[in-house]
Subunit: 138 residues, 4 copies
């Protein structure tokens, strides 16, 4: 399928609609039903001991699926997350960005399902795994 | 089972270990394997349109389960979330606090499982549902 | 909300549409958005050691949510499960029926979400917990 | 990591410990932290209309993760599923076997997490996705 939005258009859309989250995420790669998103880890994402907080990893997974859906269907701010599963498997490395590798497994008319692996940059094994279901307005 | 920590002791512990999250949560009720936690909704939790962000609801569910586990087993900062499921079912009301009603369904030696319903204050129907599994260090 | 189907009508519908599962389940209680379903545990549900198999518990949770949805909206065989989360928390007691206590947390036009606790009959603590999302055809 | 059990040893173990499930599954491929399992779809797995039942897909995902864990750690019948998430995304094709592609994402001392995509044989898009967490006895 052809992409309906480029990385630049996606970031512009996010900056306009969700200005408070824009600075947290950088699109590193975008292709048919696939996206790679970097979260530059900052002080506000951390827990004591230098580990990245759960809500920050949730946000990274959620935004990654949202962006790849928008890339496929065009700018629809009203797509909303209806379900999420998340497995936290390893402690993220301290002082290192997180990278989300996301695939869209289903893109239906009403529901979309995306799968995400989150890595500490430079590490082989994922720190977390997530699946997000989005409801797409008619 | 007797509680090993009171609401005051829990909030003191959170203030010392996780100062950045303390101001987001207020314990409204605490009993055997049950806790009620309020999230005073502030600007930083919102998305355009006045709805509360997904990461904020994740954080509320996660903290609620963490607090009720600590209340039962005493202060163990190292308990970590290993799994989460979340269903977002309704849009939270604008300008209204969120209330999490949490039950601990299992408290084993190694794993604990807590269930959470999140409500917009004053509404009958939950806005979200979550289950969190924590791994408890030996 | 008024129920659109009684326990008897539900079992008749299941017997006609899903004859192979009918004998596995008995409706013990039915009310607005609530249902209690018994699974008479038979040899075919067991694993070595007398424990009930995971697929059998999945089936019990899934059927319970399906039945309570049908009770609320009437006979629509085409409602399908889109998402499931399941926590297995304790070993079921040997030689004892399972009882599912199910609440419908959301009944929208397109999606319904039901929550289930599964007990070994006569025990206080649940053996499993599940949430099921159903997609309802227009 | 070296495999501790071959496909043949795994099937022999399953045949001895879980004779009632053995005939349902065939190992098609086995490698470091990866397994491919076929479920020859039979009448007993079907729902009206020819679709494969949810419990059958649950069983396929669950067995796949169990087998790849055993392949890595050796025969430990007591590993038990503690958590499962499942997304049903498409209707399985009628009269066609199901194929599970499974990766072990984490293999810790106490917990293992495996991810599964289920396909109708010969189709590109997965019919279902699942993650299973197993607790491994000490």
């Amino acid at each position: 399928m052809a992409l309906k939005m480029s990385s630049e258009e996606l970031m512009e859309f996010i900056g306009a609609e969700f200005p408070q989250v824009k600075e947290d995420f950088i699109i590193e790669g975008l292709a048919d039903k696939r996206i790679t998103v970097r979260m530059p880890v900052a002080e506000r994402h951390l827990r004591p001991g230098g580990t990245v907080s759960g809500p920050s990893m949730f946000a990274l997974a959620d935004v990654s699926v949202y962006l790849v859906i928008l890339a496929m269907i065009g700018p629809k701010a009203l797509a909303v997350t209806t379900n999420c599963s998340l497995d936290f498997m390893r402690k993220p490395a301290a002082g290192v960005d997180l990278i989300a590798e996301c695939r869209l497994l289903k893109l239906g008319r009403a529901l979309a399902v995306g799968d995400v692996l989150i890595f500490s940059e430079g590490m082989d094994q994922p720190v977390a795994r997530s699946t997000m279901t989005y409801s797409i307005p008619a």
